[in-house]
C-alpha cells in the first residue's frame, strides 16, 4: 500500500516533469485554437494596429455567398474523395503483396523505396514535379502521348482541367508509402493459423482476402482512412509551391484560400471563420467514416 504522502509526491513530480509540455501545449496549441475561434467572430486587420472588431456571425454568413470559397470547397472535397480511396487501395494491395509468402527478391528494398517519398520534403517533391509538368517536361509529354490536348507552349499545370489531377497524382505518389507501412503492421498482426484453417476449407485468393483479411484489417483501415482524410482536407504546400491556387482557381483549396485571405488580404477574422468551417467538415467526415466501417463489421 503506497502511503498518501508518497502518492501526492508522485503526482507532483509527474506534474513538474510534464509541465514544459503542458506549458507549450497551452501556449502554442490551445490558446491559438481558442483565439482563432474568437477571431472568427471579428473583423481583424493584423497590421492596422487596432484590436479585432466584433461582428458576430457576419464572417460565417459571408462564407455562404463567397463564390471563391465555394470553388475552394469543391476542389478540396474532390481532392479528398479521389485521392483517399486510391491511396488506401494502392497501399493495402502493396502491403498485402509485401506481407504474403510470395518470394519477391529485394522485398526490403521495395519497402524502403515506397517509404522514401514520405520522408522527402513535400516542397522538394513539388518543385521537382513542377519541372516534370512543365511544357518540356517528361510527364507532359507522356500525357500528350495519351491524347491530352494541351495548348501550345503550356505544361500540365497551366491547364485548368489537368492542374488539380496533376497535383492529386503527385500527392498519391508522395503519401501512399506511409499507409503501406501502417497496413503492413496491421496485416502482420493477423494470425497465420486463420489462413491455414481457411485454406483447409477450400478458400483461396480473392475470396480469402475479402472474407478474412479485410475484416481483420478493418481497424487499421479505419485509421488509415481517417488520417488520410484529415490530411487531404488540409492540402496546402503543393498548391503554394506549384500553382498558387491557379490557373483560374482550379487548384485553390480551402487552406490555401484561407492563407491568402489572412496573410495577403489581411482579413484574419474571415480566415479564422473559414478554418472553423473546415474543422466542422473534417469532423463530420470522420464521424461518418467511423460509422460506415462499424456498419460493415
Amino acid at each position: 500500500m503506497v502511503s498518501r504522502k508518497k502518492k501526492i509526491r508522485n503526482a507532483v513530480n509527474i506534474f513538474i516533469l510534464l509541465s514544459p509540455w503542458i506549458a507549450s501545449f497551452l501556449t502554442f496549441k490551445l490558446y491559438p485554437i481558442l483565439f482563432s475561434f474568437y477571431l472568427s467572430f471579428t473583423r481583424y486587420n493584423p497590421i492596422r494596429g487596432r484590436p479585432p472588431r466584433f461582428v458576430g456571425l457576419r464572417n460565417y454568413h459571408h462564407l455562404f455567398s463567397d463564390p471563391t470559397f465555394a470553388i475552394a470547397l469543391k476542389n478540396t472535397v474532390l481532392f479528398v474523395v479521389i485521392t483517399v480511396p486510391i491511396t488506401t487501395v494502392i497501399s493495402l494491395l502493396i502491403a498485402s503483396v509485401l506481407v504474403s509468402s510470395l518470394n519477391i527478391r529485394g522485398k526490403q528494398i521495395f519497402q524502403s523505396g515506397y517509404f522514401m517519398p514520405v520522408v522527402t520534403s513535400m516542397v522538394v517533391i513539388a518543385t521537382i514535379f513542377s519541372y516534370l509538368y512543365s511544357p518540356n517536361g517528361y510527364l507532359t509529354a507522356l500525357i500528350k502521348f495519351f491524347g491530352a490536348d494541351l495548348k501550345y507552349g503550356r505544361g500540365i499545370l497551366a491547364d485548368p482541367r489537368y492542374a488539380l489531377p496533376a497535383i492529386m497524382a503527385m500527392d498519391i505518389w508522395a503519401s501512399f508509402g506511409y499507409y503501406t507501412i501502417l497496413f503492413l503492421a496491421g496485416l502482420q498482426s493477423i494470425d497465420r493459423q486463420i489462413y491455414e484453417a481457411a485454406a483447409i476449407d477450400g478458400a483461396k485468393g480473392f475470396y480469402l482476402f475479402r472474407k478474412i483479411t479485410l475484416p481483420l484489417v478493418s481497424p487499421m483501415l479505419l485509421f488509415v482512412l481517417v488520417i488520410n482524410t484529415i490530411r487531404s482536407f488540409q492540402i496546402f504546400i503543393e498548391v503554394y509551391v506549384m500553382t498558387q491556387g491557379g490557373p483560374l482557381r482550379a487548384t485553390t483549396t480551402v487552406v490555401y484560400y484561407l492563407y491568402e485571405t489572412g496573410f495577403h488580404k489581411m482579413k484574419m477574422g474571415y480566415a479564422a471563420a473559414m478554418s472553423y468551417v473546415l474543422f466542422l467538415i473534417i469532423l463530420s467526415f470522420t464521424i461518418v467514416q467511423k460509422l460506415l466501417v462499424r456498419y460493415q463489421r
Binding site: N45, P46, I47, R48, G49, S130, Y131, S134, P135, N136, K151, Y152, G153, R154, G155, L157, A158, P160, Q244, G245, G246, P247, L248, R249, F263, H264, K265, M266, M268
Partner: protein
C-alpha cells in the same frame, strides 16, 4: 535572502535607467556580414545610438513582418518590398517621412507615396530587360547582334524561332500568382495604358491602349512557352527559348550557371508607334519606419543613412544589378565597369511600378484571372477587360467605403 533579492533588483534597475543609449532595431533581408559595416559606420557617427540588426529570410520574412505588426512588436527601421508599402501605409502602420531635397537626388519614389505623403525611402532598385539566345537567332535567320526593338520585330522573331522545332519556343511568357501581371503590364504601360485612372478612383483596364496590348501578347502566346518564372528561365538557360524578360541580375547568373549559353540582352521592346517608350517593371527595396517606434527622430536619421549611396553599396557591391536609388550612381566608376551598365541605366529611365493602392492584391487577382482567360483563348481581350473593369471598380468602391476620407 529577501534582502539580497532587493539589492540585485536595485542594481538591475539602475543599470537599465543609466543605460540612456537609444537602441534601434533594424530588420532587413540581407546577410549580417554585409550590413554590419554600414551599421558600425552609423554608430561611429552617432555614439549615443545603438543599432541591432536582425535578418529576415525571403521565404517567410513577409509573414514575420505581418506578425510583428499584429503583435505591436515592430522594429524601428524596416526593409519592405516596394509592392508591400501601400498596404502598410494605408493601414496607418508606417510613420510619415520628410525626404526634403532627397526627392531630386533619388530614383523611384512612386511606391512610397500614399495620398500625397511619403512613407519610406527607396534603397536599391532594379528592373527587367530582354534576354535573347544568339544561337537560336542565327538558326532562325535573324542577326544575332540586332535584338528586337519593337513589338512587330518581337513577334517576327518569335515566329521564326518557334518554327525551328517542336521543343523550341520563340518567347517565354511567365505566369504565376504575381508573375502573370508583372510580365504583362509593361506591355500595357509601354502602350500608354495603365491599370487605374490617375486619381485611382476607377479602373482603366478596358482602355483601347490596354486592350491593344493584351491583344498583342495573346498573339504572342502562339509562339511562346507559358509556364512559371523558374521553369521559363530554366528552359531559356537550356537553350529552348528564344527570348525572355528577366531581372538585370541574370546578366551575371546566366554567365555563371549556363556558361554554354550564347545570350545577349537589350532594353525592353516598345510598340511600333512614334513616341512610344519601352517601359518595364521597376522594383525597389524600401526602408520604412513603423509608426510605433519609440525613437522616430533617430529612426529617420538611420533610415536616411542606410539609403545613401555609400551604405547602399553594401548590397550593390555584391549584387551589382541592385542599384542604389541614389542618383549619383551614374557617375560611379564601380558601376560603369559592370557588364550591361548602359542597358541597365537606360532601362531605369523607363520604369513604372504598379499603383501603390492598398487593395492592389485584390485588384491584381482580377487582372490575373482575365489575362489568363485571354491567354487560354477563352475570351477576347476586349471582353475580358470589360469584365475586369467592372470587378476592379467594385473593389475600388469597397475600398472608398472602408477607408474613405
Amino acid at each position: 535572502m529577501r534582502r539580497l533579492l532587493l539589492i540585485v533588483l536595485a542594481v538591475l534597475l539602475t543599470a537599465v535607467v543609466v543605460q540612456g543609449k537609444v537602441v534601434l532595431k533594424f530588420w532587413n533581408f540581407w546577410p549580417d556580414k554585409w550590413i554590419k559595416p554600414v551599421i558600425e559606420d552609423f554608430m561611429k557617427q552617432h555614439p549615443d545610438i545603438e543599432v541591432q540588426i536582425e535578418r529576415l529570410t525571403w521565404s517567410d520574412g513577409f509573414n514575420k513582418i505581418v506578425t510583428a505588426f499584429a503583435a505591436g512588436d515592430t522594429p524601428d527601421v524596416l526593409e519592405l518590398g516596394s509592392t508591400w508599402v501601400a498596404q502598410f501605409a494605408a493601414d496607418g502602420a508606417l510613420l510619415e517621412v520628410h525626404p526634403g531635397n532627397m526627392l531630386s537626388r533619388y530614383n523611384m519614389w512612386d511606391p512610397v507615396i500614399y495620398k500625397g505623403k511619403y512613407y519610406g525611402f527607396p534603397w536599391v532598385i532594379s528592373t527587367r530587360i530582354l534576354f535573347y539566345n544568339k544561337d537560336l537567332f542565327k538558326k532562325a535567320g535573324l542577326d544575332p547582334n540586332i535584338p528586337p526593338r519593337t513589338w512587330s520585330e518581337l513577334l517576327d522573331a518569335a515566329k521564326k524561332i518557334s518554327a525551328l522545332g517542336d521543343d523550341i519556343f520563340g518567347f517565354g511568357i511567365k505566369t504565376g500568382q504575381y508573375t502573370t501581371w508583372q510580365t504583362f503590364l509593361p506591355f500595357a504601360w509601354s502602350n500608354g495604358a495603365s491599370v487605374l485612372t490617375k486619381d485611382w478612383k476607377k479602373a482603366a483596364v478596358n482602355s483601347p491602349e490596354f486592350v491593344e496590348a493584351l491583344d498583342f501578347v495573346s498573339k504572342l502566346t502562339k509562339y511562346s512557352m507559358i509556364d512559371s518564372n523558374l521553369n521559363v528561365r530554366q528552359a531559356f538557360m537550356q537553350g529552348k527559348v528564344g527570348m525572355i524578360l528577366d531581372d538585370v541580375g541574370r546578366i551575371k547568373t546566366f554567365k555563371k550557371n549556363a556558361p554554354d549559353l550564347n545570350f545577349g540582352y537589350a532594353m525592353f521592346v516598345r510598340p511600333d508607334k512614334l513616341w512610344s517608350k519601352p517601359i518595364q517593371f521597376g522594383g525597389a527595396e524600401v526602408i520604412v519606419i513603423p509608426k510605433n517606434t519609440k525613437h522616430p527622430k533617430e529612426a529617420e536619421m538611420l533610415a536616411k543613412f542606410i539609403v545613401e549611396k555609400n551604405s547602399a553599396m553594401a548590397i550593390s557591391s555584391r549584387i551589382p544589378t541592385l542599384i542604389p536609388a541614389d542618383k549619383s550612381v551614374k557617375d560611379d566608376d564601380f558601376f560603369k565597369k559592370q557588364p550591361g551598365f548602359c542597358v541597365i541605366m537606360n532601362q531605369l529611365q523607363f520604369t513604372k511600378t504598379p499603383p501603390a493602392h492598398p487593395k492592389w492584391v485584390e485588384i491584381q487577382e482580377v487582372l490575373t484571372e482575365y489575362i489568363t482567360q485571354v491567354y487560354n483563348g477563352a475570351m477576347s481581350a476586349k471582353e475580358a477587360m470589360d469584365r475586369a473593369e467592372e470587378e476592379i471598380n467594385e473593389i475600388l468602391e469597397e475600398f472608398e467605403e472602408e477607408y474613405g476620407d
